[in-house]
Symmetry: C2
Subunit: 403 residues, 2 copies
């Protein structure tokens, strides 16, 4: 897997996709806060949604619609989550979709809706609807970058990724964008992510590939262990690439699935690195666990531990907290068998302290990316999870987000 973003275009990189944006004044003055993603033809659609019992109105609407397996557009706003708004919230989400449908001249049922921002405040529809019309008026096959910007909330940088593969002699592009900085914890879908592809692929294959991709990317990142009410990851496949339709579990499927997974991993790493207040990406790799699930549980717990995150922020090679977090993760392992590494410096052996160079450890902790490796020395399974350090700025950002 290569996590470099070697191609431009994001959500409009694939053939037949366009995006438009507007600054409607939902977020604050002059910031883009509406994005409209559009496929020139109806696309096969798949999605995963937050497991939070409290689901925002747009999540409920999009879950219902995607069950039909087709979509042609996604309307997204930032600045207001349209969550905890009762009947009115759902009505507003439907109105957003019908407004977009009318402006684009497509079926209302083929428009998905997503929102992100503050929970529990009514949607300012007087601003939202003109914004949607403006965005629809500016649809552009090179609009991906602006769309990635329009969906940001506390994100400091937009997140895009694009991969290309060859399927049956045809160039297939998979491109996407994501947002999310706080209220991020792996649980099905943990953020907003929109991916488009010109691949021809069956609905069953697209769903299966998306679940695989999300499970190995967004479900392995954590910022603050809070699962949002608004998360969703959606993929639209419009078939314009003209490849032989991917229908089975053959090589073409695996090729597509891995490209989709690679796009998701790239976006997930970008999200973790841009976690609220973060100064460092923390990459936790568990090796030689008995099962994949053990590896995942331990990697996620270490990446999510407030004490580990604060220690890494403070450049403290406190490996005891790493082993402690693995210990309460629910993963099966023998504490007395575990080797721990910070980057390439071994700091613990068989669960015990080891003489190591504090100076070397400090150098490693100075990097933008800090790798923590736990070798369980038990089996053959592994997993990698991503998180970020816990900083003063996380507290500052979340102490006065709403006010």
């Amino acid at each position: 897997m290569n996590s470099t973003k070697n191609l431009p275009g994001g959500v409009t990189a694939a053939v037949g996709f366009q995006a438009g944006t507007a600054s409607a004044g939902i977020k604050y003055k002059m910031k883009r806060d509406i994005a409209l993603i559009y496929s020139t033809v109806p696309a096969v659609a798949a999605g995963v949604f937050t497991t939070n019992r409290v689901k925002a109105a747009p999540v409920l609407v999009s879950m219902r619609r995607i069950a039909g397996g087709k979509a042609q557009a996604i309307v997204v706003n930032s600045g207001n989550a349209n969550a905890c708004n009762g009947e009115q919230g759902e009505q507003d989400a439907l109105t957003m979709a019908s407004t977009a449908a009318g402006a684009l001249g497509i079926s209302e049922e083929h428009v998905l809706v997503a929102s992100t921002g503050v929970i529990g405040q009514k949607m300012p529809m007087g601003k939202v609807l003109p914004g949607i019309l403006e965005a629809a008026g500016g649809m552009n096959p090179e609009g991906g970058a602006m769309a990635a910007e329009a969906i940001m909330t506390t994100d400091t940088v937009p997140k895009e990724a694009v991969r290309q593969i060859d399927v049956g002699g045809k160039k297939v592009t998979v491109g996407g964008m994501a947002k999310g900085s706080g209220m991020i914890h792996p649980n099905m879908a943990t953020l907003l992510c929109f991916i488009t592809t010109d691949a021809a692929i069956s609905s069953a294959c697209l769903n299966r590939a998306l679940k695989h991709a999300v499970s190995n990317s967004f479900n392995l990142i954590t910022v603050d262990r809070d699962t949002s009410t608004n998360d969703m990851a959606i993929v639209l496949a419009n078939g314009i690439a003209g490849n032989p339709e991917i229908v089975g579990e053959g090589d073409d499927y695996l090729l597509f699935r891995d490209a989709l997974t690679d796009v998701c991993i790239s976006l997930a790493i970008d999200l973790a690195r841009d976690g609220e207040g973060a100064t460092k990406l923390i990459q936790v790799e568990v090796r030689n666990a008995l099962t994949k699930e053990d590896a995942r549980l331990a990697a996620r717990a270490v990446a999510g531990s407030s004490l580990v995150k604060a220690a890494i922020f403070g450049r403290d090679a406190n490996w005891g907290r790493v082993l402690c977090a693995a210990g309460y993760s629910g993963a099966n392992f023998e504490p007395g068998q575990v080797d721990i590494f910070l980057g390439d410096e071994q700091v613990a052996q068989k669960g015990c302290s080891l003489e190591f160079s504090e100076e070397r450890a400090l150098d490693i902790l100075d990097n933008d990316t800090v790798k923590v490796i736990l070798d369980f020395n038990m089996g053959k399974s592994g997993a990698t999870a991503w998180g970020c350090d816990l900083t003063y700025d996380y507290v500052r950002i979340n102490g006065d987000y709403r006010t």
Copy 2:
């Protein structure tokens, strides 16, 4: 339940208990870091221990010994957790116990051991053993307060609580002390807690009462969702009060159980309020849930949410985060039925926003104790959990604890 500490004495309040302390230089110069608790006669003993798969050496030793049901002394050190030290760690824990036993002239098997502090550093036995001898030489029936001080790590204040009840015409005293400020999350036992009582009570009743008490106190507090490797709660009952032995589940048992629970709740609240970097105690009450477990799950999730904690630190009445945390807690409830209150100010009704006085909310958030109430409007069960706000100081404390 009355959570005021109306009696002095802590762990030496009950008749027949003494405590001694020493400043052995494990923590840092001139701070007490060894405590020895002693009963003049062997006592019935019960304990609960951390569920972390990584258990410190003193936890393993004390778990084995308490299975015998009797103990006469507990030796505790702060400054070093004696965790992740392998065979040597266990040997050191045993040597601590045998040194205490020798100095007190009691059976080695009747000495329990507890440690708290940094993980993964060898015990400085050259300092620890002279400290134990010094503590044993200064045993004192009024030593409770100094012992409470000796077990502190990042705690800013010692925690003690005492209750008295009348059992069969005899005055029975239950007194205890606890420490814990970070790495605190409800999971069986979440900290160090030592309770003594002069009650005459069977081993079975004492075990049952302790489980009830811990389940309703320490297991309902959270500071940072990190379950420590060293947690334990131990109660010693020496029978000197001379009450008719509590053996069944009658009124005397309930009276004793509730006094023990009350001591634990008082200590638990003190721990939550003194969470690392905390400026406020957060009390989360869930009312009218379908089951007690639903209420517990939701109350704990809200009290533990980094976003809720940061919002309360920032005096932001962001009730959406409260409902969001309940939503991912695993509790069964209908989001559209939930009423939310900050103190006595209702901020959400049936899961939707409500016009409320921001000024009044700000006043409530200015208090040392912030009460958050969720009414599920579904059943008749309730639970209360306690936590603290997330502040810059939490990050500062944990960014350079070890260095």
